[in-house]
Each structure stands twice: as structure tokens, then as C-alpha cells.
């Protein structure tokens, strides 16, 4: 970053920064540490190191079941979200039409509406429609709440991309569809893929809305984890969490390769 006239970091700044980083890392680090405990309850510190709580995950069928549901919901929701958000992003970026701002506001609204409210709304809706416990229903509402992420990253890729290349392709004889498939899509693919990965993560992590509409047989991992944590302090929760932390780090690495992590998190153009 260019000099902003803020001077340089003194010793006080470095101490502040160190404490800050400890504050940020501590809760995550403590989970990973405790997950290797050999004790039967959550404790810190502990004496012996063991993998018993990782093996214990395999004996918790409801967690394994929830993990698979979360993965499938995440894959499905991210895909559906991309399928609806990419065309919408093209419409918003490439056309000037009445209602464009309203469309944008509508598609971003899941970011503004508290997830508790969404959870309540979907609970009511599903119970009226008889969709409670439906995998497809859960997948579709997850798709809905991650659309903003897919939309924003796709828009970021399209805006700033000159239309000339597509027009050139058209005048060279490409139909609309060929121009999209061979020119626009390859050029925005990193953004679309980044949006897909971010959508998957957001869907996989979602708990506040899902806790309202999950049913005993149709529960996502964060919700299963939430119920387990709220009821008993059992070290299996730490090993599951540790895996989720590592899994997220892997996803972050992928995101960084695709679009640059700062772009995803800060949302700059």
C-alpha cells in the first residue's frame, strides 16, 4: 500500500497487533488443541495426546449423516445459485433497463434480512406446503441465501470487462450463445468459480436459518453441532470443529488461487 501519511508502527503498535492476533486465533487454536485430548470431557490443558475423538466421529452417525447432508446441500445450493445468479449478473452488467436497481436490491436482500427472520419465514412456509424435512426445499432456500455471494463475485468479474471482445466475436460470425460460451464465460470463469466456492462455504456454514427448518433426519452439520454443543460438552464437537476449520482453510486456499482471497473477503473490484 502506498504511504497514507500514517507514519510507521512503533513498539506499542506491535504489542497491540500481537494481542489482537492472539484474540483472533485463540478460540480456533484452542479447539484444535482440545480435539487431541485423551480426556473424556473438554478440558484445557490436558496431559495425553490421542486421536480418540476423531475416531469417535465415526461412531456418531447423526454427525456423519449431517456432514453428508451439508456437503450435498452445499454443492447443490452453490450450483443452483450460480445457475440463476450468472444470467442475472449478465443482465445487470450488460443492460440498462427499468427495474435494474430493484432487481439488484432483491437479489442482494438475503444479506440484509436477519437469518432468524428467514428461518421463521421458511419454517412457516414449509409447514404450510408440507415441505418439512424435504432435502430439495432445504437445498433451494440455501441456494436463495447464497445467491448474493455468487452474484457479487460474478458481477465483479463482468464489470470492468469491455464488451468489445463479445462484439468482435459477434461480428466475426459467432451467435449470441457461441459468443457467451467461447468469449464471455471463459473470461468471467474465475469470478463464477470463486462465487461458487464462496457460496458453498456460506451454505455449509449456515446455522441461524437452518436451525429453524432442520428436522431430526434432515439436519446440516453446523445445526447438529449446535444442538450437541448446547446440550452437552463432549469433545467430539471439538474434533468435528477442527476438521471444519481445516476444511475451510483448504477452501480458502482454492478461493485464493481462483480469484484472490482479498477480493472475495473485501469485495473490491
Amino acid at each position: 500500500m502506498k504511504d497514507k501519511g500514517l507514519g510507521s508502527n512503533g513498539i506499542g503498535s506491535l504489542i497491540f497487533h500481537t494481542l489482537f492476533m492472539i484474540f483472533i486465533i485463540a478460540p480456533l487454536a484452542v479447539i484444535i488443541l482440545v480435539s487431541f485430548s485423551d480426556k473424556g470431557y473438554i478440558s484445557m490443558p490436558f496431559d495425553g495426546v490421542s486421536l480418540r475423538w476423531y475416531r469417535a466421529i465415526l461412531d456418531a452417525p447423526e454427525l456423519m449423516n449431517a456432514l453428508w447432508i451439508s456437503i450435498w446441500i452445499g454443492l447443490g445450493a452453490a450450483t443452483v445459485a450460480s445457475l440463476v445468479a450468472v444470467p442475472a449478473a449478465i443482465a445487470i452488467a450488460r443492460y440498462r433497463f427499468a427495474g435494474r436497481d430493484a432487481l439488484m436490491a432483491l437479489l442482494l436482500s438475503p444479506l440484509m434480512i436477519p437469518h432468524v427472520v428467514l428461518g421463521v419465514a421458511f419454517l412457516r412456509f414449509f409447514s404450510l406446503m408440507g415441505w418439512s424435512g424435504s432435502f430439495m426445499a432445504l437445498l433451494l432456500v440455501h441456494a436463495l441465501i447464497v445467491v448474493p455471494f455468487s452474484l457479487r463475485l460474478t458481477l465483479g468479474a463482468i464489470i470492468g470487462l469491455s464488451r468489445d471482445a463479445e462484439l468482435a466475436a459477434r461480428s466475426l460470425g459467432a451467435s449470441r450463445w457461441v459468443a457467451f460460451r467461447r468469449i464471455l464465460l471463459p473470461l468471467i470463469l474465475p469470478g463464477v468459480a470463486g462465487g461458487w466456492v464462496l457460496s458453498f462455504i456460506q451454505s455449509f456454514d449456515e446455522v441461524t436459518m437452518t436451525v429453524f427448518i432442520a428436522t431430526p433426519g434432515m439436519t446440516t452439520l453446523p445445526v447438529a453441532l449446535y444442538h450437541r454443543v448446547s446440550m452437552l460438552t463432549d469433545p467430539v464437537t471439538t474434533s468435528v470443529s477442527a476438521i471444519m476449520i481445516v476444511g475451510t482453510m483448504v477452501m480458502m486456499f482454492i478461493l485464493d488461487r481462483l480469484v484472490g482471497i482479498d477480493r472475495v473477503l473485501i469485495g473490491k473490484k
Binding site: G5, S8, I24, I31, Y95, F97, L140, S230
Partner: protein, 289 residues
């Protein structure tokens, strides 16, 4: 350049049709149904009735219990926001002074937790905050306290854990305004005779204010709508709006009342966002446009 719309007027609508269908069917309709539900009569024996009443709202708006509930939520969110400003703003400034290489590393470390499930992060805090947890042990070891503090199931604990969850949003908001700062402005202030502290207070800080404000709006509204952290750290003792909505829906089963609280939360948050946006626009529009 951006034409092609004249001949193809229907094209943007065709492109956005799938998303609009999804949002109308699965967002607008459910929200409308919830709004209707909030006016339904609830009977503790027979459940939700098809008759309409404003009693749910009247109860919430007149009962002291709900007043305290909303006040507690607002105070919690305000506390988290204040802490995020006090901690996040200096940290962002420190970050901006670092070399790009370190900036990148610390950014990923600070913002990365955003992508980790909030349940996981909250679990980490419940381990740290417990009576036998790391924080209490450290404080006792250091001789700062005699008996362990009650951090779990307390407002303090909730605010600490929520601050951890929300800090990245403040850092992002302040960082994006910092990026727009022109270093020459500070140089100009210095050359006009201002010391480094005066330069910061009178020249740099005012330019950061819009970022701090927009970060505060995000942090405040997300705190007020946070569920997992207050539920797990605060438990039954520290009830906030979101956890009481959960209880109305899944324990008491008084759905109309729960729906009314949810609608009020939505309205409250919308008011905060729009109100602050208006302030931002009025105060900063002409300066920072």
C-alpha cells in the same frame, strides 16, 4: 456503448427470470406469509387460529419484558460495535502501515475466520470462557482474581465472543476507506505545520469516519440478528431477541407471537440501516462523493 437493449428489450428479463422466480417463490411469499402469521390469534390449547388480531404487537409493545428484551439486544449490539471500533480501527491502521507481504498474511488470518462456521468459533469461546477455562485459569495464576469469573452465560461473555465474530467486518469497512486516502493530503497538513497527532486527528480520522460508520452499521445489525453465539454463550440467562424468537417457535410454539417479534426485529434493523444511511448521506455526501 451499452446499448443493444433497444432491439432486445426482453433479454435482461429472460436472463434474470430464473433468479426472480426463485426469489418471489421462496423469499417474498414466505416473508408475506410470516407477516400475515404475526396477526393470527394464538390459543394455548388449540394453537394458531385463522382469525386476525393486533394483540401480538400490542403485547410486545406494552409488556416490560419485551421492552427489556429489545433494550438488552440493542445494548449488546452497541457494546459489540463500540469494542469493534476501539479494537478494529487501530488494528486496521497498524495493518496499513505494514509491508504488503505481511499485510497479506495477517489479512487472511483476520478475515479467514469469517468463512468458519460461527458455531465452531463460538465453541472455541465457550472453552476459553468457562469457569475452568483458559482465561479464568490465567487470571487466577496471575493473581489478578481470587475466584473464577462467571463469563459463560453472562452478557460479558456474549459481547466478547460476538466481538470476535464481528471484528473482521469492521476491519474490512475501515480498510476500504483507508485505501482511498491520498497520502499527499497528510503531507500537505504536515507541511502546513501540523504535528503527526494533529494530522491524524484533524485530517486522517475525519476521512476514515464514513468507513467507521458503515462498519458500525454492519456490526450493529449483524450483532442484533446473531443467534448461535448469544444462544450458546448466553444460554437461558442472557436472552436476546433472536433467541426468544427461537423459543417462541420451537419451545412455546406460539408462532404468531414469534412471527411478530421477528417482524419487529426486521423493521428495527431496517430503521437502523436507513437512519444511519441518511445521516451518512447528509453529512458526507457533499464531501466524499
Amino acid at each position: 456503448m451499452s446499448d443493444a437493449s433497444a432491439r432486445t428489450g426482453s433479454q435482461p428479463w429472460l436472463l434474470s427470470f430464473p433468479s426472480i422466480a426463485l426469489f418471489l417463490g421462496l423469499l417474498v411469499v414466505p416473508l408475506a406469509l410470516t407477516a400475515i402469521l404475526s396477526f393470527n390469534v394464538f390459543d394455548s390449547m388449540a394453537g394458531t387460529q385463522d382469525e386476525f388480531t393486533a394483540d401480538n404487537y400490542i403485547e410486545i409493545l406494552t409488556d416490560r419484558y419485551y421492552f427489556e428484551l429489545f433494550l438488552r439486544t440493542a445494548l449488546m449490539s452497541g457494546g459489540v460495535t463500540l469494542l469493534c471500533i476501539l479494537v478494529g480501527v487501530p488494528e486496521t491502521i497498524i495493518l496499513s502501515r505494514m509491508q504488503p507481504r505481511y499485510q497479506g498474511i495477517f489479512f487472511v488470518m483476520i478475515l479467514g475466520p469469517l468463512l468458519i462456521s460461527v458455531v465452531v468459533r463460538t465453541l472455541g469461546w465457550s472453552i476459553l470462557l468457562g469457569r475452568e477455562g483458559l482465561i479464568n485459569r490465567a487470571l487466577v495464576e496471575l493473581g489478578l482474581i481470587q475466584t473464577p469469573l462467571q463469563l459463560m452465560y453472562s452478557m460479558t461473555g456474549v459481547v466478547i465472543a460476538l466481538t470476535h465474530v464481528m471484528l473482521p467486518f469492521m476491519v474490512i469497512a475501515v480498510w476500504s476507506t483507508l485505501q482511498k486516502l491520498d497520502g499527499q493530503v497528510a503531507d500537505a497538513a504536515r507541511s502546513l505545520g501540523a504535528g503527526s497527532f494533529t494530522t491524524f486527528r484533524r485530517v486522517i480520522l475525519p476521512q476514515l469516519l464514513p468507513g467507521i460508520l458503515s462498519g458500525s452499521i454492519i456490526v450493529f445489525t449483524l450483532s442484533a440478528s446473531a443467534f448461535a453465539t448469544p444462544a450458546l454463550i448466553g444460554g437461558r440467562r442472557v436472552k436476546v431477541v433472536t433467541t426468544s424468537i427461537y423459543d417462541e417457535f420451537l419451545s412455546t410454539m406460539n408462532w404468531p407471537l414469534g412471527a411478530a417479534i421477528a417482524i419487529l426485529l426486521l423493521i428495527g434493523i431496517a430503521c437502523v440501516v436507513m437512519g444511519s444511511n441518511r445521516i451518512i448521506e447528509r453529512k458526507f455526501k457533499q464531501v466524499f462523493s
